[in-house]
Symmetry: D3
Amino acid sequence: MKILVVNPNSTRSMTEKIGASAAAVAAQGTEVVAVNPEDAPKSIEGHYDEAMCLPGLLDEIRKGEAAGFQGYVVACFDDPGVGACREIARGPVVGICEAAMVTASMIATGFSVVTTLPRAIPMVEELALRYGMERRCRRVRAAEIPVLALEEPGGNARRKVRDEVLRAVAEDGSEAVILGCAGMADLTAWLSQETGVPVIDGVVAGVKLIEALVGAGLATSKAGAYATPLAK
Amino acid sequence: MKILVVNPNSTRSMTEKIGASAAAVAAQGTEVVAVNPEDAPKSIEGHYDEAMCLPGLLDEIRKGEAAGFQGYVVACFDDPGVGACREIARGPVVGICEAAMVTASMIATGFSVVTTLPRAIPMVEELALRYGMERRCRRVRAAEIPVLALEEPGGNARRKVRDEVLRAVAEDGSEAVILGCAGMADLTAWLSQETGVPVIDGVVAGVKLIEALVGAGLATSKAGAYATPLAK
Amino acid sequence: MKILVVNPNSTRSMTEKIGASAAAVAAQGTEVVAVNPEDAPKSIEGHYDEAMCLPGLLDEIRKGEAAGFQGYVVACFDDPGVGACREIARGPVVGICEAAMVTASMIATGFSVVTTLPRAIPMVEELALRYGMERRCRRVRAAEIPVLALEEPGGNARRKVRDEVLRAVAEDGSEAVILGCAGMADLTAWLSQETGVPVIDGVVAGVKLIEALVGAGLATSKAGAYATPLAK
Amino acid sequence: MKILVVNPNSTRSMTEKIGASAAAVAAQGTEVVAVNPEDAPKSIEGHYDEAMCLPGLLDEIRKGEAAGFQGYVVACFDDPGVGACREIARGPVVGICEAAMVTASMIATGFSVVTTLPRAIPMVEELALRYGMERRCRRVRAAEIPVLALEEPGGNARRKVRDEVLRAVAEDGSEAVILGCAGMADLTAWLSQETGVPVIDGVVAGVKLIEALVGAGLATSKAGAYATPLAK
Amino acid sequence: MKILVVNPNSTRSMTEKIGASAAAVAAQGTEVVAVNPEDAPKSIEGHYDEAMCLPGLLDEIRKGEAAGFQGYVVACFDDPGVGACREIARGPVVGICEAAMVTASMIATGFSVVTTLPRAIPMVEELALRYGMERRCRRVRAAEIPVLALEEPGGNARRKVRDEVLRAVAEDGSEAVILGCAGMADLTAWLSQETGVPVIDGVVAGVKLIEALVGAGLATSKAGAYATPLAK
Amino acid sequence: MKILVVNPNSTRSMTEKIGASAAAVAAQGTEVVAVNPEDAPKSIEGHYDEAMCLPGLLDEIRKGEAAGFQGYVVACFDDPGVGACREIARGPVVGICEAAMVTASMIATGFSVVTTLPRAIPMVEELALRYGMERRCRRVRAAEIPVLALEEPGGNARRKVRDEVLRAVAEDGSEAVILGCAGMADLTAWLSQETGVPVIDGVVAGVKLIEALVGAGLATSKAGAYATPLAK
C-alpha cells in the first residue's frame, strides 16, 4: 500500500519530521512518502495561510494520483482543503486534526488539544464541531509558540508544550491529549511518558486510519459532496 | 461608503447580475462595485472549485484595500475564503450564505435554502451549523440545475427554482426561503410574489449588512482568529 | 425611513440615552424616534418585570403602526415581547440582544456579554440558545450593578462594567464584547478604546439591522409563527 | 396540599374541563382548584395572545399566594409567564408543556406533540429546545383546528386530533403522544385506547409533578434567575 | 400503591439508608420497599461494576413484578440497566440520576451534580446528554471519596461533600445541587440548610416521580425501544 | 498482532460469519480470533438482551487478556458493555457501531444505518449521539427482520436489507450506508455493488481500527472513566 503524506507548508525540515513519524508506525507492506509543495507559506497560522497553501496541496494530490498512491494524509492541523482533496483523489483522504480526534474518541471519553498560537483556537474548535467532537474535545489550548519555533533547536518550545499538556490533564479532566500541530510530531513519546496519558500525534493517527480505510476496501464516497469536480 | 462585492468565479454575466442586485438596494451614499477575478473557475460547484477560486478572490480583496473600500461581500453561497478575507481587510467582510441566514433569522422562525446541485447540500448544511443556524434552517433543497444554467436565457432553470421554493413552503413549514446561489439574484422579487413568503437573496442581504456594520463603526475584530496574517 | 425604538421600561433618562445612541448611527434619511411607556416597571430585571412591561410595549408598537413607522427596535436586553411585536407590526422588529449577537457573529468568532445583575445570566444564555449563538457566546458576565445604577452620575458603575469587559477579553478569549443592557449604550466608544476589541451596543446594532432589513425590502414573514393575531 | 391550576385564557368552559382533568388524578389529600382570569384573551394562539394573558395570570398567582396554595400549574401549552410566576410564588410552578414533555421522557424514548394550529409549531419546538427535549420530541404536529373549536360540541375537532395522533405513531416512530392544548384534556383516555400508546395531557402531568415536588419538600430556587422581583 | 426501590449493589447499610429516605417522602397510601441483590458488587464505581450489577438488578425487578409492584426506582446514580428494567416491568421505572435531573430542571435554570469519584464524572455527563440536561447541568463535580466511605461513621466524607456543594453554588452559578450517589441520601436536609439552595436526592426524586407517573395512569410505552423482550 | 472479536450472543453461525469477515480484511501479521460466550442470549434485540449478554462478554475479554490479545472488537451493533471491556482490557476496545460510524465519517458527509428491527432505532440513535455522529447519521432505518432471520438460508432477509439500503441512498441523501447488525457482515460487497455507495460493515471497520490503534501504540486511557475497576 502506498500512502502520500502532504505537508502543505514549504518548510522541508517539518516535512522530514512528519515523514519520520509516519514511517515509524507504517505497517508491514505500507510505503509512506512525505512531500510538501515548493510554493506555499512557510507555516500555516491562520485562514489566509490556509487559503494560500491550497493550490500547492492540490497539486501534490494530483501528482500522487498519477503516481498511484492509494490514500492521503493532509499533515496540517487546520485540515486545509481536505474536501477538495477528496474530490480529486480515488483513495481515502484524512486531515490530521480529524484523524487525531477520531482516534482519541476511541480511547478516551474526553481530550484536550494543545496547539501553537491562540489565534488557532477558534479554528480547531470549529473543526471539532464539524467532526462531531465538540463534546469530547474538552478544551483547545495554545502553548503560545509560533509554528516555526518548533523547528529551532535549543529553544523552550518543547517545554512550553509539555507544560500545557500537563495543564490539560490537571485542569480539563482530559484522559488524552492531542498535539495540534504537525511540527510537534516528534514529541509524542516523550510527552506520553511525562504525563501518563495517551498523547496523540495526528500524523501517526492519519497514517494508521488511511491504512485502515484502504485495508477495508473503502474510499471516499463519490455519491454526494465529494463527487469528482465537474468539468467546466 | 464604498463596498466591494466579489464574485469569486470568472463568469462576467453573473458578476453583472450580482452588481445590479447590489446597486438596487444600496443606500443613499453607498457606492457598490462588483468584480470578479479573471483567473478562477467559471462556476463554484464543490470543494475543489472553492479552493481554486481563493487566490483570485484574495487578490480582489487586496486590490479593494488599496482602493479604499470599507467593506466586502463575498458573492458565492459556499462563503469561500471569508475567514482569509477577514484577516487581510480592514473593514467588515461577509459571505452571502451567512448574510442571508442571519437576515432570515430576524424575520422568520425557520427557513429553507434552495440551491443548485445536490452536491452542495451538505456544504450548505455545514455552513448553517457554523453560523448557529442549524435549527432555523429547516431544509436545504437542490433545484437540480448547474450554476451556469441560470445564465442561459430561455431555459427552464427559473421554473425549477420556483417549484422548489414552493415545495419549501408547503413541505418544510418554512416561513422564508433563501436562494442558495448568487446567480439567482435576479429572481428574488418574482419568487416572493409567486410564493407569498419573503425570498432572500444573499447579495442583497450582504450589501445591507455590510452597510449596517460600517455604519455602526464596526469592523472585524483583530484580537483572535481573524488577526492580520503573520509575516513569514 | 422611520424607525421606532421602544424602551419598555418607564425610566425617561434611559430612553433619552437610547435615543441619542440610535440617532448617532442612523443613516442619512433615517428618522429614529425613541419612546417608552408611561406605565411600566422602572427597570426590567427578571421574568416578572419582563411580563409586566409587555402591555405598555405593545401599546407603543400599535401607536407606531398608526404613525407609519417602518421598523422597530425593542431596547431591552431580555428581548421581551419581540414575537408579539412581530405579530402586530407590518415592518421588521428586532430586540437588542438578538441584534447585538447577530452583529457580533459577523465580526468575531466568539464574544462575551456583560450584563448588570447575575440573575440575568441564565436569561441571556437562553436567548443565545434561541438565536443559535450558544457556541459563539463564550460567557455571559454580570458587572453586579442594578440597572438604575447606570443612571446615577458619579457612581462606580462604569468602572465595574469596564473591569468586566477587560476580564471577558483576558479570560474568555472573546474577540468582541456585547453590552447587555440598554442603559450602557453611552459607554460603547469609551470601552472599545479601553479594551481594543469591538464593543457592541444592542441599540446601535438594532437600528442598523432594521435599516438593513427595511432597505432590503424585507419584513417579518406572516406565513407562520408571526402571523397577525387571530380575531377572537 | 393545595394546588392552583390557572387557565390563562378567559374561556370558562375550558377551565372547567381542565379542573375536571386535574381533579380526576389528584392524590388523596390534594385539593386542586382551577381558575382563570376574567380579563384575558379567550384563547391563546400566538405570541400576542400570550403576552396579553400575562397580567391576568400573574394576578391569579398573587391571589393564590394570599390563599396559601403550595404549588401551581399554568394550563396553557405555550407555558406563558412560567418564569414570572416562579419569581412571585413560594411553591413550585410548572407549565403544562414542560410537565408533559418531562413526563413523556420518562416513559418513551421519543414522542410527538399534537397541537391545534400550525402557527404554534415553532413555539412548541422552541419550548422543547428550552427544556432539553429537542431530541426526544420527534415532531410537533398541528391538527389544523382553532383552540375554541375544541369547545364546540358536535364538531369534527376530536376526529382531527385522533387522526393526527395516529399519524404521529405511524410516521414519526413516536412511542408516546402529547396533547398540545389544555382544551384537549378530556380526550386523553379515548386517544390512548384508539392508538395503543400513552397519550399525555399536560394538565394531568402538571398536577402530578407539582404534587411530587411539594411532596419532596422542594420549591423554586430563589438563588438565581427566579429570585423574588426586586422592589423598584 | 406499591413502589420497589432497588439498590443494585449489595451493601445492605446503603439499602437501609435509601429505604429510609424513600419512606420519609412517600405519600399517604404509598408503600415503598427497598431491596438489593445478594450477588452484586459492593459498590458501583465504573462501567465494569455497572455491568456486573445487572443480572441481580433485573432479578429484583422480576421478583417485584411477581409481587405486584406498580413502579420501580433504580437507586444507583449511573442509572444502570434502566432500559432493561423498562422492558420487563409493567409499571414505570426511573433511575435516580434521571429523576434528580428532571426534578432539578423544574425548580432551577441550572444545577451541579456532586458525585463521589472523578472517574464517574464522564459517566454522569453522558447521562445528562441522554436526558437532554447537558445545558442545565452546569458542572459535574467529584468530592473525591469512594462510595463506601459514605457508610463509615466518623469520617470526613460528609464535610467533603458539603464543601463541594458550596463550591458548586459559588463557582458554577448553579441554583440547585444534585447529590450524585444514593449513599448521600441522608445528607440532603443538612446540605440544603448549609447552602441555601435546593439540594436534591435522587431517591426522593425517584419515588415522587414514580408516584406521579402511576398516579397519572402512565406506564412505559411498549410501542418501541422498551417493548417486552422477544422470546428466543 | 492478536485481535479478539467477541460476538456477545451465543449463535455460533453468526460468530463464524463474523470471523470470516474479520479474517478477510486482517492485515499481514494480524491474527483474528472470533468467539462467543456459551451462556448468552441467542440474539441481542433490546436493552434486556443487551444486559443479559454482559457477563459472558466480559468473561471472554478476561480470557482474552489471559491469552495475550492486544485489542478487542465487540461484535454487536448496540455496542454493549464496551466501557466495561475498556476497564478490564489492556489494549484498545471498540464496538462495531462506533467503528462503523467513525469509518463512515471519514469517507462521507452523511450516512444511514440499516438495522434489523424498529425497536433498535432509538438505541442506535442514542449511540450516534454518544459518538458525536448525530449530525452525520442522517437516518436509522429498520429492514423489519429479526436478527436470526439473517441466518436462515433461502429467506427474503437479504432482499429486504438491500431495498432499505437503496431507500437510504434515494431518500436520505446518504453518501454511505452502515449495516446495523453483525449478522449482515457477509452482505457488504454485494450491497456495495447493488447501490454504488460505500456499504460499511462494523466488524470490518472494527478490526481495521483496532489494528490502527495497536499499530499506533495506543491503548485505552486509564486516567479517567476507563480506569481499572476498583477492588472491593
